[in-house]
């Protein structure tokens, strides 16, 4: 495994996840992995967009470095949020990782069509979760360096 590149500041995550338990699991995985990241969580698509656009209650929100976007969300599903993000010239550079319980090809294709940067099937065990978070971390670092 490659050694993680040196970071200048903590990576800011935005987690869009309606399920409390899933959010908790992801947060635990991050902690386990000792990724001292800032992680903000919103519950649905509308909130996510409001957060990104610093609207309403999220007026003081900081622009995230990476977005973890659940596919299935109340009010506005993940794909719609993804489309909004990628059509917004301000937001489109932010890498978006889709999270889903579904491993159906159809979902993956639609996500990539809407220019998702990555599509991750929610793993069913702890190790996998850890693995994913680690990968994300690495992924972000590469992107950051490239920028």
């Amino acid at each position: 495994m490659q050694s993680p590149p040196k970071r200048t500041r903590p990576v800011r995550f935005l987690l869009v996840e309606d399920d409390e338990d899933h959010a908790d699991l992801i947060a635990r995985a991050m902690r386990e992995h000792r990724i001292s990241n800032e992680c903000s969580r919103v519950e649905n698509g509308e909130q996510a967009l409001a957060f990104l656009r610093k609207e309403g209650e999220f007026g003081s929100a900081q622009r995230p470095d990476i977005i973890l976007l659940d596919l299935k969300l109340p009010r506005m599903n993940g794909l719609e949020v993804l489309r909004e993000i990628k059509w917004d010239p301000e937001l489109s550079p932010i890498p978006v990782v889709m999270l889903s319980t579904s491993s159906a090809d159809e979902d993956k294709e639609r996500a990539y069509e809407l220019r998702a940067n990555s599509y991750v099937v929610k793993p069913l065990d702890f190790d996998s979760f850890n693995q994913i978070v680690s990968t994300l971390n690495y992924y972000w670092a590469v992107v950051n360096e490239a920028v």
Binding site: D21, R75, D125
Partner: protein
């Protein structure tokens, strides 16, 4: 106008003030001579003006105007000629023909121009007469003018000559007189010189003088005493006697005058008024001592002039006129004589000098006469020449017309006929274009050959032998010949061959004129064929063919008729009508309905048979019963047609009759077969149609009428348009296109599927159609036969199935998401649990277990709901009368904990007490709607949930569940009913509830909807079948149950379900 006025002035001699008017015009001085125009100018202008007006106004006047124009031209030309030969001054008749040089030139030109116009406009027929006449007239007028002018010129010359001669005579006379007077002076001088004065001496001298000068008539002496001594006579007069001699008075007067003047003086004296005047010359005789003596001589002027004029006598005759103005002077001048004044003494004498006729004649040049003769000759010549020229033109014109006509006739003949000429041996020497065209040979190929080249071999040799016999005899031959053209095709010509004889009577050549009658021959041939065909038809054994005239009398009766009816043709033709073999009762029976159908009265009889075809114009086919001669009967099919001539006039009827005895026997079988077929079709529900493409008529079977919902017509006929109108508008174009392709291509395009609107129910049905075509002999589609099958139910079933499949797919897809979600949770926490247990760290194990339990519960609830959802459409659900209040109470009891927790006020208004549906469904609907209201709608400070029922659409009760929470945005109005769609997370909903409600509503053919009023709370409406209030289960107490939750909604409800 000025011309006319001027002419009037000349002719009438009055002064119209024209000169003053014209001359006072402010003309620039020096530009021109201003003056009255000459009479001939005026006349010419009048004529010219007249002609111009006539030419302009009256086209046909053109020839006649040439006459006055000729005069104008002639006057102008004559004048011009006069100027050219310099005889203008004493012009013509007293100067009337005079005109100025410029006028003459102008008028000549004007006249010539007008003449040209008149000539050009003139009709060719009048030209040969009028043109020479007018030209002749013009030349004549010009000649006359010139002639008169030349005469006048000559007279003028005569006058001049006479005057000159007169002057010579006068000079001579004066000289002669002077000589005489000198002689007298001389005599007087001699007397003076005489030494002695004696009378005798004096007398002698006087007598000698008289003798020397015979013109001196007398010499006398007046002595001092005043006595006059007449020397010649010797008489001696005393002066006192003077008074006695009156005639002598003049002497004294002459002396007296001479004495006064003091010099010799010649004076004129007259003895008496009757006497001839005499010249008296008194000379004083100067002598000493006798101062007053005078010698007086008397000379007769007549004798003097006579003597002096004698040398000129051969040239002119001189007459002495009295001195002074002579009244005849003008007359004398006019008549070519001249008056010359001759001064003799103190008196002037007028001498009239006339040229001697012989002398005058010797001066004549003869020009005027020549001019006149030449002019007249020129007139005649010109007229004749012009006449000939014009007539010649006409003849040439006529010849040209004739030639043209001949050419046209030839053209017509060439266009119409084949013309050929041969020499006596039959060799072709000429062939016209038509011959070449019809025979297809080039002219070069025909010329030099005989007619054998076009021989077709159709005619026997004898035919041509006979032809040659005829024409070699010199007779014209007519006949129709069949010839062969170059390509081998046959053509018929009607030929006429004319032998042409030379001057010797020998046949020189033959001219053949032929007309192409191929078409007529073909017609004849086709008529022959038709006749043969007709004969064959009439001979046909199967059909009775009978023709009648308009009244019904039989005109033709074929052999089959004879056989079938037992009558012979001779018996019926010209005698009988078809009523002979018709059943009279049948005819009478049918007359009534037919009369009603045609709307006119019918005479029972022959008219009944033909009335329909006569009024419709199409053949009328009917079944009748015929009676044979022997009384037996048989059924026939009779087709009647009107026979019409070329102008459409009815000339009779043709009946074609078929014996249908055998057919009748078969018909029963056929009907049975048809019946079976129909039953089969009815059983399958397939409709059959037939379409007569040309006629546009469509035949439907019963099933078709049922499918289309159209009332069946008596003959099962509909039109193509009937079908077209039944097809729904969206499908018409496509279907018509497919049918047209079918008709055009004649190929079966396979199955068509389209929608129609059933006419009686208005319902849209889906039809599946199969087509087959029947072609006529030309390969065109004659009939289309097809089936229609109502597949609406099948299509609906297919659609439903399709819908269900889609729903199922969606369900599986969403379920895979949402059902997996708790598993992810469970497995995730389980892995933590396992790890912590392994590390013997138990601090968070409780949390893990809680999370796992939550997830498992959620999954259970979700699976329950999904099962409910799946159960909705099941067939075994029983419907019953459900009291809504019961259901509401149960739901509220279940939710009591939540209600009390949120402090919700429940508002009930159940106007419609019952619904008719599954009790379970009613419960699920209300439970889901109410729990949703409690879960998501209780965000207001004073939350209210209202449940109402009201009459909805026909047969439905509308149940309304409203809250006063945040409400639902319009964009989610349909989405909320989708499976696993949640607007909020963490409220414990499974995302199935509203999908279930929707499914239940759809199960009862109703709908559920939400009124999107954001900020005013969510308002759900669902319709369920209305109950009739009967058959309620008595498990709940009626009246009180109507408002059971009233108690509940105010008081806190004990916690029930968690």
């Amino acid at each position: 106008m000025v011309g006319v006025l001027t002419l009037i002035e000349y002719v009438v001699g009055t002064d119209l003030g024209l000169d003053e008017l014209l001359m006072e015009q402010p003309l620039a001085p020096g530009v021109s001579h201003v003056g009255r125009m000459d009479p001939s100018t005026a006349l010419s202008l009048v004529l010219a003006g007249m002609c111009v007006v006539m030419l302009a106004m009256w086209k046909r006047a053109a020839p006649w105007t040439s006459l006055p124009i000729a005069i104008v031209t002639a006057l102008g030309a004559a004048s011009l000629l006069g100027y050219l030969v310099d005889i203008a001054s004493p012009y013509a008749w007293g100067g009337l023909g005079r005109m100025s040089f410029v006028s003459s030139v102008s008028l000549t030109l004007i006249g010539a121009g007008l003449y040209a116009c008149a000539w050009a406009d003139g009709h060719p027929r009048t030209r040969p007469v009028l043109l020479p006449a007018s030209a002749g007239l013009g030349v004549l007028v010009a000649t006359a003018c010139l002639w008169r002018a030349m005469i006048a010129e000559e007279a003028s010359h005569d006058r001049l000559l006479a005057s000159t001669l007169g002057e010579q005579v006068a000079t001579h006379t004066r000289e002669c007189l002077a000589a005489h007077l000198e002689a007298v002076d001389h005599a007087a001088a001699r007397l003076e010189a005489a030494d002695e004065w004696s009378e005798e001496t004096w007398r002698a001298k006087a007598e000698r003088t008289l003798a020397d000068f015979p013109i001196i008539a007398r010499i006398a002496l007046v002595n001092s005493s005043g006595q006059l001594v007449d020397i010649a006579s010797g008489a001696h007069h005393d002066a006192s006697l003077l008074p006695h001699v009156e005639s002598e008075g003049a002497w004294a007067m002459a002396v007296e005058r001479a004495r006064e003047s003091g010099a010799p003086l010649a004076t004129m004296a007259r003895g008496s008024p009757e006497d001839e005047p005499q010249i008296e010359y008194a000379v004083p005789i100067i002598r000493e001592g006798s101062p007053d003596e005078w010698m007086v001589a008397r000379i007769s002027p007549a004798r003097l002039l006579d003597a002096c004029g004698r040398p000129f006598a051969d040239k002119c005759a001189i007459r002495v006129l009295d001195h002074g103005v002579h009244p005849a002077r003008a007359q004398s001048e006019a008549s070519g004589r001249s008056i010359v004044r001759c001064a003799l003494g103190d008196v002037g004498w007028d001498l009239e000098v006339a040229l001697a006729p012989a002398f005058a004649a010797s001066l004549r040049s003869g020009w005027p006469g020549t001019a006149l003769v030449v002019g007249i000759c020129a007139t005649l010549l010109l007229s004749i020449v012009l006449h000939l020229l014009e007539s010649g033109g006409r003849i040439r014109l006529a010849q040209r017309g004739l030639l043209r006509e001949i050419v046209l006739q030839k053209v017509a003949l060439d266009a119409h006929s084949l013309v050929a000429m041969t020499d006596a041996r039959g060799v072709i020497t000429y062939a016209n274009d038509k011959f070449c065209e019809v025979s297809k040979y080039a002219r070069e190929e025909l010329i030099g050959r005989t007619h054998r080249i076009v021989n077709s071999g159709y005619h026997p040799k004898a035919f041509f032998v006979e032809m040659w016999h005829t024409i070699t005899r010199g007779e014209t031959w007519h006949g129709d010949i069949c010839n062969r053209d170059k390509d081998g095709g046959l053509y018929w010509v009607a030929s006429t061959i004319v032998p042409i004889r030379d001057e010797a009577g020998k046949i020189e050549k033959y001219v053949a004129v032929r007309k192409d009658i191929t078409v007529q021959k073909e017609h004849e041939e086709s008529i022959r064929r038709l006749a043969a065909l007709q004969a064959a038809i009439l001979a046909s054994p199967g059909y009775l063919i009978i023709a009648t005239d308009t009244t019904g009398v039989v005109t033709s009766f074929n052999a089959a008729s004879e056989r079938a009816l037992g009558y012979t043709a001779d018996e019926v033709v010209g005698h009988a009508t078809p009523m002979l073999w018709h059943d009279p009762a049948e005819v009478t029976h049918r007359a009534g309905p037919l009369a009603d159908e045609l709307g006119r009265s019918l005479e029972t009889g022959f008219e009944v048979l033909v009335a329909r075809t006569e009024s419709t114009g199409v053949p009328d086919e009917n079944e009748w019963t015929f009676v044979r001669k022997n009384g037996t009967r048989f059924p026939v099919s009779l087709s009647v047609t009107c026979l019409r001539d070329g102008h459409g006039r009815l000339i009779g009827y043709l009946s074609v009759i078929r014996d249908i005895t055998r057919q009748k026997l078969n018909e029963a079988d056929i009907v049975d077969g048809r019946q079976r077929e129909r039953l089969a079709m009815q059983a399958t529900g397939v409709g059959i149609w037939e379409w007569d493409v040309a006629g546009g008529m469509v035949h439907w079977d019963e099933q078709m009428f049922r499918i289309y919902g159209v009332e069946q017509t008596a003959d099962s006929k509909v039109t193509y348009d009937d079908w077209r109108q039944a097809v729904v508008i969206e499908d018409v174009v496509e279907q018509e296109r497919m049918l047209q392709e079918l008709v055009r291509g004649g190929k079966d395009r396979g199955v068509r599927r389209f929608r129609i609107r059933n006419r009686s129910t208005g319902e849209v049905r889906v039809i599946e159609a199969h087509d087959a075509v029947r072609l006529d002999d030309n390969g065109r589609v004659e009939w289309v036969v097809g089936t229609n099958f109502d597949i609406t139910d099948r299509v609906r079933a297919e659609e439903e199935l399709h819908q269900k499949n889609e729903e199922l797919e969606r369900f599986v897809y969403t379920a895979s998401h949402d059902l997996k979600s708790p598993i992810v949770t469970i497995l995730g926490y389980c892995s933590y649990l396992k790890r912590d247990a392994g590390r013997e760290r138990y601090g968070e194990i409780g949390d893990y277990c809680d999370a796992i339990t939550r997830a498992a519960n959620r999954m259970r609830a979700c699976i329950d709901d999904l099962l409910e959802l799946a159960r909705v459409g099941r067939a075994d659900i029983e419907c019953e009368e459900v009291r809504i209040s019961d259901v509401v109470r149960e739901v509220l009891e279940d939710q009591a904990a939540a209600i009390s927790e949120a402090g919700v006020k429940i508002d009930l208004d159940l106007r419609e007490p019952t619904v008719y549906c599954s009790r379970r469904h009613a419960s699920q609907v209300l439970s889901n709607l109410i729990s949703n209201a409690l879960r998501y709608g209780c965000t207001a400070p004073e939350p209210v949930v209202s449940i109402r029922t009201a009459p909805g659409e026909a047969g439905f009760v509308e149940i309304a569940v409203d809250d006063n929470g945040k409400g639902i945005e319009p964009k989610f109005a349909t989405r909320v009913f989708e499976l696993f769609e949640r607007l909020e997370s963490g409220k414990g909903g499974t995302g199935v509830g509203l999908a279930l409600v929707k499914r239940i509503a759809e199960h009862y053919g109703s709908q559920v909807r939400v009124i999107p009023t954001p900020g005013e709370g969510a308002k759900f409406r669902i319709g369920l079948p209305k109950g009739d209030g009967l058959g309620l289960k008595k498990d709940s107490s009626g009246e009180i149950d109507a408002k059971p939750p009233k108690a509940d909604k105010t008081g806190p409800i004990p916690a029930g379900r968690g």
